[in-house]
Subunit: 280 residues, 2 copies
């Protein structure tokens, strides 16, 4: 039995990504919902779950800061797999509610950001409220007692709307091309498949002109394609960054191994995050 | 009279940054609070306010995505000035409330992120709620009727706590070195002072190995120091990014002007965001 943790409750896109991943695994899988990333990744680090499925970036809203920052910290977790899930958000409310009656909309900040345009056009006067997850938002709309003159709607998944017996007011209310990339974190990364990616995080000495440039040169000189560069504050001072880089190839490829060795020598901080098969 | 817009209500760190900026201006300043970045920047673009003060990045929580993304869009706004404000968050509640009694904490997602460690140590069981601003959180704690068994606290500024007559339970609850960088956006950027920075945003053709590297080379070859590189999704597809780069020097400097000209020629998208004096 493989224990796979994810950010719950049931009905989240994390659960959907977890299910996509579970299908790839041979053997029985137990899916375990967690309330916070911190609890999930602490348990994964202590082997209380075997693997953790976490969202890392969305095509509209960008990086998931809490998860990205945890990757840079000291822990025993490596990236074993990436999963990309298409995201379709729905505007949902209680039975009988019409779009024109909605006065308040609740959701997680990311989906609210993904649906900015729809909301501005269709519900410009609605008051926006923030929740910790889309499922929590839907649950609140399903269970809260209505106040006079206030009609709540939520933004979330169809699965969660069905779970809580809410009505779909509008479909695909998010910006087009909305996808979320998830990572599966485990004790070991993935063996070479010939169609792989690797992820690293590093920091360069501050205010060294060309510092990042010379690091990127290690990859460019070897024609290694970079698929992502993300900067995040190191949390030490403004202007001091960690760089998260994804590159084509596996740590067992000679050129990748050589480039990583050189990068490691020339940075202030380095952490190898894992090699894993590319999402097709 | 110069009209300066900021993200209100009164008591926010944006207002504090606006006041720091107002002191630098000669002549009378009218400070105008806005409810959303979108409204503020729309009015600035249409000249309904002369200048807009917006937060762009925090040393702990990183970029402010909504503002960063607006910079890349078509508009008439240039960066005229940067303002850095030290951020001190306070845990505040109604009079007579003790730390041990607090069951619920409300604040904006960024300050909650800045205070994660304090909350985990001191209020590990507290339920966290999200608000659109620290002032809104404080207002809610000050005005909401208490329910049985539920004691709310907020995280926000001392100024806002005083405004709403709440008691400070704990000071400086955020991570150390907490600073926020604000930008002043106006129709024109700043004349050369000899101690300047410039900001640009660009995108490189997707999956072109070394694409970003060759762009950064234009600066490295001229010994131009880069103080920030931030990637943000272009919102077209996963893996397609805008790069926001800050560099030392003014667009009127010969080397900077030359580098920018070459960058512009070799990217899929380019926008010059402004030259302005460096924060000291």
């Amino acid at each position: 039995m493989i224990k796979v943790g994810y950010l719950g409750p049931e009905g989240t896109f994390s659960e959907e990504a977890g299910k996509v991943y579970a299908k790839k695994l041979e053997g029985k899988v137990e899916m375990i919902p967690y309330a916070t990333f911190h609890d999930l990744l602490t348990d994964a680090n202590r082997n209380k779950v075997d693997e953790a499925v976490v969202p890392i970036e969305n095509s509209i809203e960008g990086t998931v800061p809490a998860v990205t920052d945890i990757l840079a910290q000291e822990n025993n977790l490596k990236i074993k797999q990436e999963i990309v899930v298409a995201v379709h958000q729905y505007l949902v409310a209680g039975k009988g509610v019409k779009l024109s009656e909605i006065t308040d909309v609740i959701s997680h900040p990311q989906p609210l950001g993904q649906c900015t345009e729809y909301l501005r056009k269709n519900l410009p006067k609605a008051k926006l409220h923030l929740s910790h997850s889309t499922v929590e938002a839907i649950k609140q709309v399903a269970t809260s007692i209505s106040e006079k003159g206030i009609v709540f709607a939520a933004i979330g998944s169809k699965a969660a709307a069905n779970l809580y017996k809410l009505k779909i007011i509008a479909s695909s209310v998010n910006a087009k091309g909305n996808e979320t990339r998830f990572l599966v974190l485990a004790k070991n990364d993935h063996a070479k498949t010939g169609h792989d990616k690797s992820s690293i995080v590093f920091s360069v000495a501050k205010n060294r002109p060309g510092g990042l440039y010379s690091i990127l040169g290690e990859f460019a000189d070897r024609k290694i394609n970079l698929t992502k560069i993300e900067s995040r504050p190191s949390k030490k001072a403004l202007g001091d960054y960690f760089f998260f880089v994804d590159l084509d190839g596996h740590r067992d490829d000679a050129l990748v191994s050589e480039a990583l060795k050189n990068v490691k020598k020339n940075v202030a901080f380095f952490k190898f995050l894992g090699s894993y098969p590319k999402h097709k």
